[in-house]
Symmetry: C2
Subunit: 333 residues, 2 copies
Amino acid sequence: MKKVTMADVSRQAGVSKSTVSQYLNGRFNYMSSETKDRIQRSIEELGYSPNSVARSLRQKKTKTIGVIVANILHDFSTQVVRAIEDYCHACGFTVIICNADDQPDKERHYIDMLRAKQVDGLIVFPTNANSELFQGLVKENYPLVFIDRFIEGVRVNNVLFDNKKAMSLAVQTLRGKGYERIGLVTASLEGAITPRQERRDGFMAAMEEQGLPIHDEYIQSSNIDQIKDVLADMLQSTERPEAIIAGNDRVLQEVLKTMKQNDIDVPKEIGLLTIDDVTFAEFYNPAITAIAQPTYEMGRKAAELLLEEIDGTKGSKKQTYRFEPSLQLRHSC
Amino acid sequence: MKKVTMADVSRQAGVSKSTVSQYLNGRFNYMSSETKDRIQRSIEELGYSPNSVARSLRQKKTKTIGVIVANILHDFSTQVVRAIEDYCHACGFTVIICNADDQPDKERHYIDMLRAKQVDGLIVFPTNANSELFQGLVKENYPLVFIDRFIEGVRVNNVLFDNKKAMSLAVQTLRGKGYERIGLVTASLEGAITPRQERRDGFMAAMEEQGLPIHDEYIQSSNIDQIKDVLADMLQSTERPEAIIAGNDRVLQEVLKTMKQNDIDVPKEIGLLTIDDVTFAEFYNPAITAIAQPTYEMGRKAAELLLEEIDGTKGSKKQTYRFEPSLQLRHSC
DNA sequence: CTGAAAGCGCTTACAG
DNA sequence: CTGAAAGCGCTTACAG
């Protein structure tokens, strides 16, 4: 149970702590190989392993970053997080994930906690209600990257999906299949959440571009747990849409449940296309046509940008990176 | 950018660091309310927030635990992790997740790293190849809990699914539906991974109990990426099984792909039941009958056990906790 | 009711 | 080529 420390090693090896520290950090410019051997042997004999808390305190860096996810229930988030972890681990960084659960005060709480833990930087899917807090971090030059969403006026690197292009691709695809009355279902628009907002706007623009009529009743946004009702209404209307776009993976689930409950045949009775590719899309009956985000690339990019900022090597010009949608054409439309 | 420290606060408030520290830790037994006010005001004015790295070094505890998941690709793992995080956050603990990716050396690496970071304890889904390492931790009295899998001879608290009962329930259910030639597909049995092993054994036992014939060709275990082939063979055989049990969520995906590719109608041509409930089970066509693990309860239990061990309140008798399966009867069999 | 001092386990100029 | 010393930002007996 007794922890062995550097002092123990130095005593055992008959050298000073400084020397052990140099050895550990690979600074053996002029270290005699005899000394090295002695230290190495002592380390092994004692089973020493360095205490990185002490190291962090001294060096004022923890080689740890924090990730605050707005809502971990999205497959998108999970995949992005995976990419971030892969990249960071490869670079010797640890990552701490926190789930804000779409609650601004949880987000705030986690930011405080992570900063107290002295994490070297933060990647966040922001909730859009703590902009002063983020402004403060920016002013301090605290390494910070936004992903999936951004906040107007907060100057950080943003890693975003090209939602406009995605919607244009979606509408074009459906149009190409002969659908004209197209509906869109997204999660609640409250809180001005970037992707939902942009997808809705992008949808409008794309419909117009394609010269398709926009029916307000076909464009619905509501809380996840109310989507089934909203959708059922839409499907019962006298002239229902010929095809529907699900705004994200969570919405898709609700759409599929509704279709099943109401015994609606996809694609015979109604076409379906979703934003976000999901595991089961490929083997669902019918296989679901999806517009995929390059989740892995996006996560990796966010991690790269953050670690660069932490290194302080690159200049600090902040940018917004938009990632391209890709169409996975299957059988639901 | 300049960090404000406790010394700054004490100077501003005109008291000693000790007093500030007492204040922060809520030990104001005899502190004058005037002093308290002064300190509080200084903290706000300076925007002070305590450095938990320093605190951790001093107190020799980090209020952080590590979780090492064997393979994060299982929904089960993700859900368990979520439960662990919820419980730990509620108790003021941070959690660091690492994915061993089924590789014992990654597991070893993460254990070292987490210990260097001085985490207060570990919850692990062990790979079964580092038993000496774990033995070492146990000998040191290092707080450690296993979940999902266990290792023979390592005396820790184990949180496990009752796989035997699950298989018995599975076989019974199928039997009740009139199926007699039942197959089982699991992921590779290499590495003696607890749930697979136990599910297979449990399957055998249950079949025998039910007086059903065991056909060796119907019992297959292989790497995830070979399951499709194995299964296709099984389905092509002259007398194919009437129903199939998928050993876990990843296997289920492969089974569904194969069914789809070979145009096999579930449940008309073959019955299907899976271990592990998955998001899409409910709205898949057909809805999939599943035997669910109480993932949330299991994660929570593991977290509780670990935090108790860290507190050192409870005695240290180690136990194995088995969690009950529950049947989600749907339409795939 | 409050403060001075030691110490947690490292790293890092600096001296020799 | 190696060591003594200071210090990172806290907490905690202990003294008064």
